[in-house]
Amino acid sequence: MTMDPRLQAWLDGDIDFEALPETLRGEAEAWSELLEDVRTHAVAGAPLGATARVMEAVQADAAGGAGARLAAWTTWLVRPRAVRISPLAAAAAIALVAWSVTQFALSPIGTGSLDDRVYVQFLISAPEARTVALAGDFNEWDPTIQLDDPDGDGLWSARVALEPGVHEYMFVIDGSEWRPDPNALSYTNDGFGQQNSVLAVTPVDET
């Protein structure tokens, strides 16, 4: 179908309505109403990203096969997009992250992750002992860690996972005698008239 060039010139704004012959004015008015209708009702453009999605679909369809699907996935993964989220949900997400950070930063002594722990071999020679236990700041001084002397040679040992840092400890012989480690690197006054043994545990990646 072809349009009369004079009607086309009027639609393009090159000539006035009065310049149209009477025979074309009815058709011109119909065009005018149609355009007004479009202007009034077509308030929104195409959805955001519609052009890109249409083009991706067309390209993927044209390429076909697994490669096309991979390309479509890759494009989907890397393409920036507008995410709609309610202010309440955004604020809750921010608060959750901040709460996690404060939890981590304020964790008290003795709550490091298990991955940081270092196994320490505690050894003491106590041939006269029937039982030997270990107590320290790592177990609230509760002598529940038992040392073993499997071959009965008087050399007691236990392997304990400790967090890196400085620890104070003592051995408890036969449930009642608190004894410092005779081979400790250092000792400190415990405030109760005895000496605690002191041990420094260095993280494995710093040794």
Binding site: L96, A98, Y119, E140, V166, S186
Partner: protein, 235 residues
């Protein structure tokens, strides 16, 4: 910034304050001592006095877990009555002084080490500057303990601080640092002055002075046939 973003920020801030306040308060508001835990091991009067000391310490900003730890240590070791109360009172007082010296941001283990260093007559100004220079709490703790032990062995403050800081800067391990005071004491027993002993072991750490070799310089303890407590490997 539009109204939408401002609203989100205000809401986020409100939730953050609301959510983190209980966490922040967790350490301060939790009772320092659990009376029930002590009930069958101590008499009521001792418990009441310990609770009072712990509460007062907590109000002055001392981390409650330090007091709890020391009380549990004393109880486990069979210390009772007035002797236990006096020891805890003294410990809480020293922790309070360390807290005042280092401020609210100091970690519990650093406060404990600072209190110990002060007990060994390390001046407050040196404790504060040492902690300020060693932001890694592990280094601060092992450093303060070593300085305290060196002071206890008779080494003057300045050389002790200088030697420890130099060792930390060289990356010397905590184990080796802790063994420094024992090595000094050994040489002192052989007739050297504490200052000479430290110089011989750690070297002179003044700028421009080369470190002297020494057979007593803290080193790994391999080669000893005595049973020793030793860090082994990762857990």
């Amino acid at each position: 910034m539009n109204r939408f973003n401002w609203r989100a920020i205000i809401l986020g801030a409100a939730l953050l304050v609301g959510g983190s306040t209980p966490v922040l308060a967790q350490n301060q508001d939790r009772p320092a001592l659990d009376a029930g835990q002590l009930q069958d091991r101590l008499d009521q009067e001792t418990i009441a006095r310990l609770m009072q000391i712990a509460r007062r310490a907590q109000q002055s900003g001392v981390p409650p877990q330090l007091i709890r730890q020391k009380v549990m240590e004393g109880v486990s070791k069979g210390v009772r009555g007035g002797r236990l109360v006096r020891a805890i009172e003294d410990y809480a007082r020293r922790l309070g002084q360390a807290r005042n010296l280092l401020g609210a941001g100091a970690r519990p283990e650093v406060l404990d080490a600072a209190a110990q260093a002060a007990e060994h007559n390390v001046p407050s100004s040196r404790i504060r500057s040492f902690v300020a220079a060693n932001r890694d709490p592990r280094r601060a703790v092992v450093g303060l303990r070593t300085i305290g032990e060196l002071r206890d062995a008779g080494v003057p403050t300045d050389p002790a601080v200088r030697a420890v800081q130099a060792a930390i800067d060289r990356g010397v391990s905590g184990e080796r640092l802790l063994s420094l005071s024992a090595a000094v004491r050994r040489r002192v027993r052989q007739g050297e002055s504490p200052g000479e002993a430290l110089r011989a072991i750690a070297g002179d750490s003044r700028p421009g002075v080369r470190q002297a070799p020494s057979r007593d310089r803290p080193r790994d303890r391999s080669g000893s046939d005595r049973p020793r407590t030793t860090p082994r490997d990762r857990g």
